[in-house]
Structure formats: C-alpha cells, structure tokens
Amino acid sequence: MSNLLEIEHLKKYFKSARGTVHAVDDVNLTIEEGKTVGLVGESGCGKSTLGRTIVHLQESTDGVIRFAGKDVTHLDKKQMLEFRKNAQIIFQDPYSSLDPRQTVQDIIQEPLRLLTDMGKAEIEKKSEELMDLVGIEKRLRMSYPHELDGGRRQRVGIARALALNPKFIVCDEPVSSLDVSIQAQILNLLMDLQDQLGLTYLFITHDMSVVRHISDYICVMYLGQMIEKTDKKSLFDKPLHPYTKALLSAIPTVDIDAQPERIQLKGEINSPIDPKPGCRFAKRCPYAQHCCHEPVPLTEVEPGHFVACHRVKEINQL
C-alpha cells in the first residue's frame, strides 16, 4: 500500500507573552492508505495541534505535508476546498463542535451545499444515506444538537465528516467524553466505516486501551515531539522509551489478579515554552544522565521500531 499522508519536520509554534510555545516540534509521520495510526500522549503534548495542523485548521510554522503524493503544505483558497473534500476531522467534544442553532439535517448537509454542485434533491438523498450509515434515526433529522445525547451527537459529527467522501479523517479524541457503553458503540462504528469505505485515520487519544483496540501503528508524543513510533504489537509487548513504559504501567487495569508494577514518574510535564535542547522527558526520567541534555533524534532501534532516547540500548539491553 502507498502512503496517503507524509509529514516531514513539521513544526507549529505559537507566540505567547512568555515566549514561543513549541506545540509541535519537528515531527515526521507517514500513514499508509487504509490504516489507522494512533497518536497518544498526555494533555498539552501537542497531539491535537498536530492533527489540526495536518488538516489545515492551523497553518504550520515549518515543514512539509504531502497528501496522496502532492505537497499540500501551502494551499490557496481553491486548493484548500479541494483538500477539504479529502481530509476531514471529527472533534473531541460533540457538545461544542456542532452549531446549536442548526438542525441535524442542516449540519450534515452543510459541506454538501458548500463544496459540491449537488442539487437539492440529491443533497436530501445523500444526507439520508449518511444518517443511515452512522445510525441516526430519520425522525431526528429536524432535531437540534441539545436534544441529542452525547453518543448521537458524536454520530452527527461523524456523518458531517463523511459527507464529502473523504479519504482521510483525523479523529481527535472522538470517544473521550462518552460513557463506556456508548464509547464502544462509536468505536465499532468507526471501525465498520473504515472497512466499508476504505478510510485512513489519524486517531488521537489519551486512552491507551482505546488506541490499542483501533490502531495499526502507534506514535507516542511528549512535549511536542515524537518519542516512540512502532506497530501496535511491539509498542504494547515491548515498549522501549522510559516514558512509554511509565505510561503503560500507569493505566488502571480491571484485571485484579495482575495489577501492574507502577513506574512512578517524578513531577509533572515541563513547560513547552522555549524548551531547552536535549530530551524533554529527562527531568522526570528515572534513567536520566548527563548525555540526555544533548538533542536526541528519533532513530530506528529495531526494524520498524523508532525511539528517541540516548540510553535506549542500555536500558533495554539491546
């Protein structure tokens, strides 16, 4: 399979009163067509910013974004509309990402009205198909978002993202605000849609069990940088970066007979404002040494397994 999305040295900085926020700092990422890449990390690590920068909700500061072989880093208005047909996003909070004054039908039809030359009847038909596809009952088409529960609202958000038959969807924490029983419904729906429509996902989440369930490849971010990148199996069976290890050990598990041995991290996440060179995790890392103040690139430690850590070989005895 070919790569649908390729990102090279992508950076997104924000200016703030106290300095420059390095929200996304030199990130490389490729996503194969039809696959799901999971992007995990804690709040403030830049995972949402990365997702939003890829679909051009924010313009990148530096770097290259290639989509289906074409450079889409800088787009004029017309190219942007074309790009939007192929790349869409589902937002975290279905309460604030739907216009409260539009009906379900209006919300789903809006992209069709704006970006296609479909006639009214065609749009009606397509929106009915979409509602069917994501499992929203027809009787709800004139309802407003506040009349729907969280799960249905998220289905509306998904229908809107699918309206233009995109190839690629950024799913930004789409199930984080939902209860477990509803979360499972939405995850199943997203996976079914991927099978039916051949979609490619960048799935952003902080929930490791969700990411394990849905992804083919997983990237772990820490303070704007990618620190580990590999296929799902290696990441969960053999995490190599000390942060990934700690992250995995911190997940509460329902298996009362096998409670994990916790790796306690010192302190909390550093500030992303003008970070010093070197490993950004060093301050909390139990293995940090002098060498960790040197810049550390993401390197292939084992076939297909990329890690950014100076001491990865020693720690894991590779």
Binding site: G150, S181, I182, A184, R212, P252, D255, Q259, E268, I269
Partner: protein
C-alpha cells in the same frame, strides 16, 4: 453475623431516595440505595453519567442544592446517628471533620482568590478552635504530606498545575483527619501518569490514617486498584454489590457483564467490542419493572413486573436481577 453488626455501627445508608424537581417534572435520581461500610474499608461506587453516584455522595453530607431537591428520604447512619435528622450544629461538627469530601474538578473546587494555605486551614480552625498560626502550620504539614513543598503554601490555585490542585483538594479534605472520606471522581480530570500518582497518594494516606473511603468513579480500572467492595449503580439503584473479587471475577448482573464487555482490553485482541445497545433510561420517567429491561441481553417477561427483590449469591454478593445468567452461561 458479628461482622455485619460491626459494619452498620460505623456507617450505613438505608433505603436512600432522592428526587429532584426539574420544571414540572420529577427526576428520580436515587431509588432505594442501601449499603454498609466498615472502618478502614473502601467502597467503590461505579456507574455511568447520570446514574446517581454524585447525588448519593452529596446527600451523605447534605450538600445538595435545597431548591432543586423535591424529596430526600432514608437514613444515613454515622456511628448510629442519622445525619438526615441532625440539626445544623450537629451536622457542622461532622461535615468536613468526621466526614469530608474530595470533589471531582480541582479547578472549580478551590477558591481562586484565596491562598491555598488559608483554604486548607479554614476547616481546621472551625473544628479545632485554634489560632490562625496553628492552623496554617497544619496546612503546611498537610501540603508536605501530599507532596507539595511548604514554600508554595502562600500561592493561589492558578499557580498550580491540575495534578497539584487536586493534591491541594486532598490536603483540604484530610486536614481534620476525617474517619470517612468521600472521593468523587478524584482523578477523572487528570492525565494517566498524574492519576497514578494521585491514586497512590490517596491509597497511602488512607492506609496510614486508617480512613474509610467511598470512591466514586466510572473507571473500573481505578476500582480494581484501590477498593475492597464494589457497588455498581444503574438508574439510581445499586444493581450489583459484592467484594472486589466477587464482582470482578464473577460479574453476574447483565449490566455489569455488559460494562466489562464494552471495555477495550489492554492484553487481549478483540475484533469488535460488545457495546450495551441503547441508552440509559430517562430519569424523569418512573418505569414499571427493571430499568435496564430495554437494553438487557437477557430480558424476559418476568422483568416487566420485577419489583427489585434482591438475589443474594453469597453472604456479600447481591444483585437486582430476576433472570441472571447461571454459573455456566456467565463464563
């Protein structure tokens, strides 16, 4: 059973019912909840949004907004005394002193214009009638206990990160060495590595101080790590209750089984998750029979008229279901 009498002497809730008014409608938030807690024991209350978990917690301390409550009935017995029948003076002696609470959202549980040491000291002055200096010294001790340097005692909440704010809230709740701690989703707003730190802290302090605890959460994983007993709540009722081992090894109510099935597993690969179809019931409608009926995989005719007679599977393991799976089927 001597164990049981000991239980109810310390803390127990008997047939708690809470209803809210909402416009012309009545919201049936809690419908006949009872449980006991022994000294030093931790009970996990698990359930989804709107199940009535927080309402139960807040009725224990009688801090529900009075104007919204239509009916609050039952008994909340603390060392044999019914909290619901106490006058304000008696209640104030217990609230924040014997029983205290950690709130879900540390961002809103703290006063933004008051220094954290003052906030921690506030309750201590009330209950110990000491000087301000003594209370502030206590506040500094508490901060050190939860892992915050006392140099930061004079700072305001906005100067702390989310995890540290939650530590301040914990310090506040523990300042008077309560005998019972109610923790309402204490780690839900936190990142997973910080959640691990805070849970370990709560566990350590609970064990050191011998505090009993009611932990409210929607996360079964958190319960597995910290609780002795588990109660699963659906539509304002405890539908399954037992020791942690009983509920986690042999979940028996179809809803509990459904909850475990809907969780993505960290170790096993599953093609598809098995969600619980449908939605939680509308709490403004009083239903006949079992409230889980429309979503239940094992529903039958009996369920329509089920009057919630409990089924005791063991001395400690109880479910509210008239058609549970047998031992064989459950596996």
């Amino acid at each position: 059973m001597s164990e049981n009498t000991k239980n109810s002497e310390f803390f127990s809730i008997r047939d708690l019912n809470v209803q809210y008014k909402s416009g012309d409608q009545t919201v049936y938030a809690v419908n006949g909840v009872s449980f006991d807690l022994a000294p030093g024991e931790t009970l996990g209350l698990v359930g989804e949004t709107g199940a009535g978990k927080t309402t139960i917690a807040k009725s224990i301390l009688r801090i529900l907004p009075e104007h919204a409550v239509k009916k609050m009935e039952g008994e909340v017995l603390y060392e044999g005394q019914d909290i619901f029948r106490m006058n304000d003076t008696e209640l104030r002696k217990i609230r924040g002193h014997q029983i205290s609470m950690i709130f879900q959202d540390p961002m809103t549980a703290l006063n933004p214009v008051k220094r954290v040491n003052e906030q921690i000291a506030e309750g201590y002055i009330q209950h110990h009638h000491c000087t301000k200096a003594e209370a502030e010294q206590r506040a500094e001790e508490m901060l050190e206990l939860v892992g915050i340097s006392k140099d930061r005692a004079g700072e305001y909440p906005h100067q702390f990160s989310g995890g540290m704010k939650q530590r301040v809230v914990i310090a506040m709740a523990l300042a008077c060495s309560p005998r019972l701690l109610i923790a309402d989703e204490p780690t839900t707003a936190l990142d997973v590595t910080i959640q691990a730190q805070v849970l370990d802290l709560i566990k350590r302090l609970r064990d050191e101080l011998g505090t009993s605890m009611i932990l409210i959460t929607h996360d079964l994983g958190v319960v597995a790590g910290i609780c002795d007993q588990v109660a699963v709540i659906y539509a304002g009722r405890i539908i399954e209750k037992g020791s942690k081992a009983e509920v986690f090894r042999h979940p028996t109510h179809p809803y509990t089984i459904g909850l475990f099935g809907a969780l993505p597993d960290l170790k096993k690969d599953v093609e598809r998750l098995s969600p619980i179809e449908g939605l939680p019931p509308d709490p403004t409608v009083k239903t006949e029979g079992c409230a889980f009926y429309p979503r239940c995989a094992r529903r039958c005719e009996k369920c329509k008229t089920y009057a919630y007679e409990p089924t005791n599977l063991t001395d400690t393991h109880m479910i509210l279901c008239c058609n549970p799976a047998g031992e064989e089927e459950a596996k």
